[in-house]
């Protein structure tokens, strides 16, 4: 019996062995064709740099490059700081990078990245520079074509970057605690805290709104000295601006320092009529107090002038956003407003500024203490740009154009900018002054709805500005806001689910389902301007010299696979402009082109 069983077993195995397909059966001819076609000397090794947060994207890129005949060396850094150090040292061929256009205008999406003199640029191409300048002066209808050409130059022709995808923005809200209708999710701008309310309005003063951000080391609480994830949300809520962006990136005066704004004919003059119901707040004994000092036109002029002046502070990180401004001044002559016509329309600037005001504009005053809206005494600020540049309004809505107190900043920043010593001098907004401990000496003057009281390594505590439009619908609802520093997205999600935080901005794509299936959570989704792309080394690697090699890498990228991996929760991108302007360009993976370009590269 045993023998028969054995024979049967053997027969079965033989039959099964006949059935199975081997790897070369499956991909036989294709494979052998490839090896013949590849026929060069060895594989090209590409070093891919990224952070461990981008590990999944790196794996997809690695896989795609390997399948296209490259060898890939991964350089994974644990955090953004060490990633940046590696990138600055040039230890990469391609770096996984991302860019979010927080101002919501296409100029910002290209200026600092691709212009020869941009803060984040490693590209030196006069044709690119020309196109960026040309597009900046054009209206949306005109610049579509220019940006299309620019994209083609950057990606298709020269392959300075290889685009991967556009992300969505998603935030999870604990709807047991918060009223989800009061929580905004804007495409570009940072979240506004003042509108957020509890389900139970009685808790407004008793409980704190607890939210989260990844980075706990704050670059600077001086709005012009930082433009990154560590301070964007915080400074947005601490400093009011002349205008704001709506959730779909329209420039409006709602929730800003101005009642109205108007663009003068010729697109170089921009007028803002200021509110009189916001005072600066400061922190005393752990509480926010009204300084009695109004946020007025002199503060606006001071703030914008230092924003555009590269040398106003050491380590100025945002001047390139504001370089387009030539002059900022207070308008006191009402006749000037009467004479000025509005751009592309009927009527004077005065009419546009006066629209919907409680009392008519009867007088323009220079001194902010003399302004009184109910009596018709207003302050008006005029911004003049060097050239016609309608997108300047987007920059004025950015957190770096936040209004600071002239008097306070001047009294703190007494050091000499050229001889600034980071160990000795303490500039306005230095995070050391708000960090618990010996260096604590909170000197902040907040013009926005909230003010930072103190921070440590785990959280930052904010309280509402008592003199911020008190009694109006824009008065901050919740009196205390706590921002927890939780670096890892999965930990943040856990914190949201167990009720430790009420609001989590940045739910990972692969976890949407978890939030949606949780009864006490609501998931809000919106488009975003965040584009992830591969940046080629522009300095001293092979990829910097060889356009063919860059293109071989570019055409290895298959965006459909990214979309698959993220379960459709990403969109295709062509450049950092893609989320802002529909240019119609698309990157299509093409293994045949990869081979072609690789062969050309080898022939070089």
């Amino acid at each position: 019996m045993g023998k028969r069983l054995l024979i049967m077993m053997l027969a079965l195995i033989v039959v099964l062995a006949g059935c199975v397909k081997t790897k070369s059966d499956v991909s036989g001819e294709k494979e052998s064709g490839e090896t013949k076609g590849g026929g060069g000397s060895g594989k090209v090794t590409i070093e891919l740099l990224g952070t461990s947060a981008g590990e999944e994207d790196m794996n997809i890129v690695r896989d795609q490059l390997i399948k296209n005949g490259f060898d890939v060396k991964l350089n994974i850094q644990p955090d953004y700081g060490s990633f940046k150090a590696q990138r600055d040292a040039g230890n990469y061929d391609i770096a996984l990078s991302s860019w979010t256009t927080v101002t919501g205008n296409p100029d910002y999406a290209v200026r600092s990245l691709f212009k020869s003199d941009g803060d984040n640029s490693n590209i030196n191409d006069s044709e690119v520079d020309g196109l960026i300048e040309k597009a900046s002066t054009e209206t949306p209808d005109e610049f579509k074509e220019t940006y299309k050409q620019l994209e083609q130059r950057i990606v298709g022709v020269k392959a300075y970057i290889a685009p991967l995808y556009i992300s969505f923005k998603a935030q999870g809200i604990n709807n047991d605690v918060l009223n989800p209708d009061t929580v905004r999710l804007a495409k570009s701008r940072a979240i506004a805290w003042e509108t957020i309310d509890f389900n139970d309005a009685a808790k407004r003063d008793a409980a704190a709104l607890i939210t989260q951000q990844a980075i706990g080391s704050l670059t600077s609480l001086d709005p012009i000295k930082g433009n990154d994830g560590s301070i964007n949300t915080l400074n947005t809520n601490m400093y009011v601006r002349l205008v704001n962006l709506t959730d779909d990136d329209q420039v409006v005066s709602d929730g800003s320092l101005s009642y109205n704004y108007a663009i003068g004919d010729g697109n170089t003059d921009y007028y803002f009529i200021l509110r009189d119901d916001i005072n600066f707040a400061k922190v005393a004994d752990g509480k926010a107090v009204d300084t009695g000092d109004r946020v007025g036109a002199d503060d606006v002029v001071f703030s914008l002038n230092r924003a555009k002046d590269k040398d106003s502070v050491p380590d100025h990180r945002t001047y390139s956003l504001h370089e387009s401004m030539k002059e900022v001044e207070i308008v006191t002559d009402i006749a000037e407003l009467e004479e000025a016509k509005v751009s592309g329309g009927e009527g004077s600037v005065l009419e546009a500024l006066g629209a919907g005001l409680e009392s008519e504009i009867s007088e323009l005053v220079d001194d902010k203490t003399a302004a009184d809206s109910s009596a018709g005494k207003y302050q008006v600020v005029k911004v003049t740009t060097k050239e016609a540049f309608p997108q300047v309004l987007n920059y004025l809505a950015h957190q770096s154009a936040g209004i600071v107190s002239k008097q306070q900043v001047e009294s703190i920043n007494t050091y000499d900018v050229a001889a600034f010593d980071v160990n000795k001098d303490i500039p306005y907004g230095d995070q050391r002054t708000v960090t618990e401990g010996a260096t604590y000496d909170n000197h902040l003057y907040a013009s926005g709805p909230y003010i930072l009281v103190k921070k440590n390594d785990y959280q930052a505590d904010f309280v509402k500005n008592p003199a911020y439009r008190a009694g109006s619908e824009f008065e901050p609802k919740i009196s205390e806001v706590t921002v927890r520093f939780i670096e890892d997205a999965d930990s943040s999600l856990s914190a949201l689910r167990n009720g430790e935080i009420h609001l989590f901005n940045g739910v990972p794509e692969t976890k949407y389902e978890l939030v949606e299936n949780d009864d006490k959570l609501v998931l809000q989704k919106n488009d975003s301007n965040a584009v992830t792309y591969l940046l080629f080394n522009g300095a001293d690697r092979e990829v910097a010299k060889s356009e063919n090699l860059r293109k071989a890498v570019l055409y290895s990228i298959n965006q459909d696979e990214f979309l698959n991996f993220y379960q459709g929760n990403k969109k295709k991108a062509y450049s950092t402009v893609s989320p802002l302007v529909d240019t119609g360009n698309e990157l299509v993976a093409d293994p045949a082109k990869v081979k072609e370009f690789l062969a050309e590269y080898r022939a070089e």
Partner: protein, 498 residues
Amino acid sequence: MEEKLKNRHALAVSREYPQANFTWIISLILSLIFLGNSFSFKTGDMNMVLFAFFIAYLTTALFQFFIAWRMKHDLLGHGEIRKGTRRLGYVQLISLATGNVFAAAFAFNIINKRKTPEYTFAVYMFLTQLFVIAISAMNIFKPYVTDTFPVAMAVLLGIALFHVAVLIIVAKSVKEVEAPRSLGVVAVIVLLTAVTGNIFALLLGWSLLLKSMSNDRSRIMKWNVMWEKITRNSMAAMGMFFIILMLTISVVSRFTFDYDLAVANDYGNILQQPSLAYPFGTDNFGRDVFSRIVFGARISLIVGFASTVIPAVIGGFLGGIAGYYSTRTDNVIMRLLDILYAIPGILLAIAIIAAFGANTMNLIIALSVGSIPTYARTMRANVLMVSNYDFVDSARALGTSDMSIIFKQVVPNSMAPMIVKSTLTIGGAVIATSSLSYLGLGVEPHIPEWGNILRVGSTYLESHSYLAVFPGLAIILLVLSFNFLGDGLRDALDPRLD
């Protein structure tokens, strides 16, 4: 009356009866695990495959309980297990089809009354081969298999058949202290089959050679006693079985598994539930978790072994020198090692990885450096003891050089605790490897390593728990196996327990 007392004693000293009980209990537990997993409490659905496993294991457990009851009856009534009861073992062999290695090992054990170490080796050698074939055979459900698969499987099957033959020959002809001379040839062929990584074949071949060629009865007896002690401990034997199975699978997987399935992304098959084609499901990149775990065994074992052997050799050498020579040498070496000992091992490893980058070689070095002092201490303590023995004095009197005394007389006689310690710490090394990978400090994330696989799984714990369960189980089983084997080795090698 006296008869009864004698029979009670027979029950108490029987080695097979506790194993019988152990087998039915563990089969019952496994069946309950299958039952628990076959029913989904969320949806109320039944998983028929798992339920079938539950039935099969329950049947095995019940039958095993019956055998155990018969054995107790036999022992109490007759003072020995009767032939009829032993024959039940043949029936229990069927449990092999369900993959119940505990019941199968017991069945092989009960069938043969005369148990030589060779018989045990042959049984486990065959079981290992069978399991390797079964695991490799899972590949036929895949869309395609690797090119060498048919040939490799044929070779494996051939070896398995040969192993069955050897098993029968060994059961029939090998005696307590001697074996027919003709078995020498068989022994050599068995030794050759050990290239698949099947260490049991190596042990069997060596043992057969020893018995068929050597006349040194005391040496053979010593060998017999040692292995009897190890294999008497069911858990140690099972641990050894699992380790060797993993080792064999790591060697054989080179020819029977396709590495691309474990590393190449397949976006069409992302996060698939376990199925025949993907026994452990697929991960977030569509990679087959089963293949990844199989290939991961290789790295875990290599790093585990290497990061145990390296400090054992270096620490053993330093400890040997320190223990043998005067206080000054001793002090210098041991105090330096104390400094190293003061740095937490895992932190040192993290620092080394952070400084020199993450790859397998650095991982081995990082894990090795930290455990040198403990090995040195163990060795030094033994050398201090052994170097006072008479045979060392006589060697010294004969004018043998110090180095020769240390490495020919002292160290070999101090090895037993080192071996035990190595086996026990190898599990720790496997965990450390996985921990570092889990923290993102081990090998590159796409490389199939158990810690890496677990890391991906941990983020899908709620929605796709199998991604974490299987690599977790693999780590647990391997570490437990090393610990059980270590315990068994200690019992067998420690003179104090004699």
